[in-house]
Amino acid sequence: MSREVWCIVEHRAGAVDPDSLQLFAAARQLEGTAVAVICAAHAEELVGQVARHADRVIVLQDAALEQFTPDGYAQAIVPLAQERQPAAVLMLHSHFLGRDLAPVLSSRLGSGLITDCIDLEWRDGILGRRFMYRRKLIATQRCRTSGPDVITCQRGAFVAAAASQGAAEVETVVPAIDAAAIRWAVGAFDAAEVVAGDITEAEIVVAAGRGVGSAENLEAVRELAALMGGALAASRPLVDNGWLDRGLQVGSSGKTVRPRLYICFGISGAIQHVVGMRDSDVIVAINKDPRAPIFEYADYGIVADVMEIVEPLSAAIKELRG
């Protein structure tokens, strides 16, 4: 296993995003050595969170890496990647590394970039598979370039293995970073308000999407959620139009939920939503379009208008709960 695959670890405020561990699984799927790459000003706490999962750890440590900036990270990673030529540099597609950093790395390394991969394979080089045209096709892609391939992985597409026994060897490298060339000044971090009844903690989540149609119908869904003792959640359109708070959004730009029961009304099942709810124990979908992709993820499906089901279901729950 001499093929090195670098996995850029996503972290904030001393905590590694646990989905970063999935990258090590992706690296091993490429029959490679999973090298965790941590860019930070103080890495000790972070190293402990990955050392029993990765095969090796490289720490790029510099005061200019206190906050994530694409220029800072690129200045740290690019020269070392040019020198050592790993087979690939992996990161999660969402949130900020895949968006802000991956294209910058590919551009500065002169490498190809394959984004949002759901599968990787080694066949005399790296093959990445990703959806195209709203999940109607799967494309198998490869880079025609000679440098390290830059690849972003969809969250949840690779399954992180349990921690191994030994802690990986850690190498610390002090990169040469020109702080004046960093064009971002990072300001206030505005953390999501922690509210009681957070959707990630609820055992039952009742979610509404564009298909609910009106604010009045949404109230009926809210009432159903309350009757079931569950939390109300939403897909992005209802948050964008201001009907619901952003803290209630499920999906790639919102929260990931894994309740025992997830019932969704008028949600078509775009991948951006699905990644936030597909691990729920039981999924029930109500949508008037029989071809809606949400039915591919649901355990039970009903083709109907939202209101045709919400009211009788509320009545049935009332009766059940007596």
């Binding site: 551009s107 198998t140 000044a185 990072v186 055992e203 959004q249 993820y297 009903i302 083709v303 049935a316």
Partner: protein
């Protein structure tokens, strides 16, 4: 000051997506619509221009259908439009970015706005790659923009799970925007009439000085394997609801 907006004609959700015998996607079936994210970018550019005495240029590279999106941008209030007709670059974001950057060198914008990704291919690379080609800074996932007039843009970014981050980025810069940062206006009749008199410049692809090296190739396209469909409950509303409640109570034991 000039603000440029990148607009893409994206394959619309209802289009038939079919492979031919050679395994190539049949583009003849494609129907296009303006990429939804880009609509928010246009609206933001027009709002910023109104308060900062700026001009807005909308730019598109792609099939002829992209002109519809540019006309919409003009009708919403953009000052002029640039179009590069190009049928066959769609699968490679580096090529797209290279064409866009070459056209942008003629526009001389201080600020470039684009959607965070396209709805059909969703690589979310093009805006950032354009910035790299031009040597501009870039901020993605923008949900708010202010221009304090000191050579920077103050950007509010929407991170995951309801977290936000403020970044001051040096201009010139590319900002890629999320849906929901504004409420895009509908073009007024007056706007639509005025758009007809606005300039839409066509640039021939062959005239542009661009990098033609394709860095990523698609070696196979396939239909996804069929997934296990949900157990569909059918019948009158009262019947399916009763059936569902029974299933959730007795089979699944989640109620």
């Amino acid at each position: 000051m000039r603000i440029a907006v990148l607009m893409k004609a994206a394959v619309e959700p209802e289009s038939r997506i079919e492979l031919d015998d050679a395994g190539q996607v049949q583009r003849a079936h494609f129907r296009y619509e303006l990429n939804e994210y880009d609509l928010y970018a246009v609206e933001e550019a027009i709002r910023l221009a109104a308060t900062h005495d700026a001009q807005v240029t909308v730019l598109s590279v792609g099939p002829e259908d992209a002109v519809q999106g540019l006309r919409k941008g003009l009708a919403m209030g953009a000052n002029d439009a640039v179009f590069v007709a190009c049928e066959d670059f769609l699968a490679d974001p580096v090529s797209s970015a290279s064409v866009l950057a070459a056209a942008l060198r003629r526009i001389d914008a201080d600020l470039i706005l684009a959607g965070v990704e396209s709805a059909d291919l969703g690589t979310s690379q093009v805006g950032v790659l354009v910035a790299e080609e031009l040597g501009f800074a870039c901020v993605t996932m923008t949900i708010g923009v202010e221009l304090p007039g000191n050579g920077t843009a103050r950007v509010r970014r929407e991170l995951e799970a309801g977290n936000f981050l403020e970044v001051d980025v040096r201009l010139p810069a590319v900002l890629t925007v999320q849906t929901g940062l504004n409420e895009p206006r509908y073009p007024s009749l007056k706007g639509i009439m005025a758009a007809k008199r606005k300039e839409l410049v066509r640039i021939d692809l062959a005239e542009l000085d661009r990098d033609v090296e394709q860095k990523v190739e698609t070696i196979e396209l396939a239909y996804p394997p069929p997934r296990q469909l949900a157990q569909m409950l059918e019948g009158a509303a009262d019947t399916v609801v009763a059936e569902l409640v029974t299933l959730l109570c007795e089979e699944e034991k989640v109620l």
